[in-house]
């Protein structure tokens, strides 16, 4: 809709919008997170939800104890290889549209435990991540910043057309295979349909 016409109409007391804007407005202002934490990042997440930082200002204060009622999974903390299948399972149980925030160095890449034998090298191997928040742990303000970044992303998502959001693509998977426990690592160690890093060549 033409911006000039819209402002002209609003001056006359007529509010005009599109279904897409209305949908995205509702969607981004009530992102209910899943109530689960994995490590110290969860403490910062809890702090963000309390009075001092007050995540309620952004409509995300309703932490749901069930994945069926949640829109956002905040992967807050170290994902061990033992825990990773459960995290993927929780993601699979969430209804669309669903979003994932990888909070902290561990959830992004394994962080300080990357070289360990028991820590997953980033949750984006198994589920699609919308926002990465670096930090160890990120402060509550950083989580709020990540949430605002997610809200901006939702505000600009399209409902139709070839570039529409993942939730509206019929062929895009809403569930991802849950890895099995292997003798040394999870099998498979990564979802290659999802996790395709660019080849890195050292230039030393």
């Amino acid at each position: 809709m033409d911006e000039g016409l819209r402002s002209e109409l609003s001056r006359q007391g007529i509010f005009a919008t599109t279904i897409q804007d209305l949908y995205n407005w509702g969607c981004r202002n009530s992102i209910w997170p899943l109530n689960f934490g994995l490590a110290c990042c969860a403490i910062e997440m809890i702090a963000a939800s309390m009075a001092r930082f007050d995540i309620a200002r952004f409509g995300a204060e309703v932490f749901r104890p069930s994945p069926r009622q949640a829109d956002l999974m905040i992967v807050a903390g170290t994902v061990t290889k033992k825990m990773a299948p459960q995290v993927v399972r929780l993601y699979n149980q969430m209804p669309e549209p669903k979003y994932v925030i990888a909070m902290g160095a561990c959830a992004i890449s394994g962080g300080p435990f990357k070289r360990g034998y028991n820590v997953l090298k980033g949750i984006d191997r198994y589920v699609p991540v919308d926002v990465h928040i670096p930090g160890c742990p990120p402060c509550p303000e950083a989580l709020l910043h990540g949430l605002i970044a997610l809200q901006k992303e939702i505000a600009s998502q399209k409902l139709t057309g070839p570039s529409r959001a993942r939730a509206f693509q019929e062929e895009a998977p809403g569930e991802f295979p849950v890895p099995e426990y292997g003798p040394y690592d999870l099998v498979p160690a990564k979802n290659t349909d999802l996790w395709r890093p660019k080849p890195i060549i050292r230039d030393e």
Partner: protein, 211 residues
């Protein structure tokens, strides 16, 4: 609290033929410990818990220790007869000490407010006879920690009510806290690898010129 020597002599008087040993500790805290043979560890543990003067009713910590095979050099003066004359030689012999695993228990008394008394059990070797006696029947708090020592060191606690892995998943093979554990070769790119990581980085992410 009594000294460790007193505890040892009282234990040996109470349980004949126990065969205790005091392991000294050269580190700054100098906490010596009692080495108990696994075969009779449970009797000794019961005594330590039930004795009114000790009353060690609280096992705060169970840890595993891995001692690798090591080579000890022994210097000796040997006299030999060479060309009809006696001569003294310094001889250096190498002796191989087989490795073993150890379960270390830290005991305190809640009632008498003293401790710790440190108890050790040693396995025969690190491979097929890595067995000690579980002290969970005596101190219930040892249950999860013995499971952890089993999980990470592979110490088998005989008499444990529920000996399963606790931190790693059940399908996991190997014992990751052992000193000879070889981690899987799953190195991933790091921007600034250094020291021994550099070799791994070269192997996994070759420099353009070599590739």
């Amino acid at each position: 609290m009594e000294t460790l020597e007193q505890i040892k002599s009282r234990l040996e008087a109470a349980i004949p033929g126990l065969g205790l040993e005091i392991q000294c500790n050269g580190a700054v805290p100098g906490q010596a410990s009692l080495v108990v043979p696994p075969a009779r560890a449970i009797e000794a543990a019961r005594f330590l818990r039930d004795d009114p003067r000790l009353a060690l009713d609280y096992c705060s910590n169970v840890s595993g220790v891995d001692w690798l095979d090591r080579v000890v050099e022994e210097h000796a003066r040997v006299t030999r007869v060479i060309d009809g004359r006696e001569r003294v030689f310094d001889e250096c012999r190498e002796r191989r000490v087989p490795g073993y695993l150890e379960a270390v228990y830290h005991l305190y008394s809640m009632r008498l407010k003293h401790g710790p008394v440190i108890l050790r059990q040693r396995t025969v070797n690190r491979v097929d006879q890595a067995r000690v006696t579980s002290l969970t029947p005596v101190w219930r708090s040892a249950e999860f920690q013995e499971r952890e020592a089993y999980d990470l060191f592979g110490i088998v606690f005989e008499g444990h009510p529920d000996l399963r892995r606790i931190l790693m998943w059940d399908e996991f093979r190997d014992y990751p806290m052992r000193k000879d554990y070889v981690e899987p070769d799953d190195y991933e790119y790091e921007p600034t690898p250094h020291d021994d990581l550099k070799e791994k980085a070269r192997r996994h992410y070759p420099i353009e010129a070599d590739a």
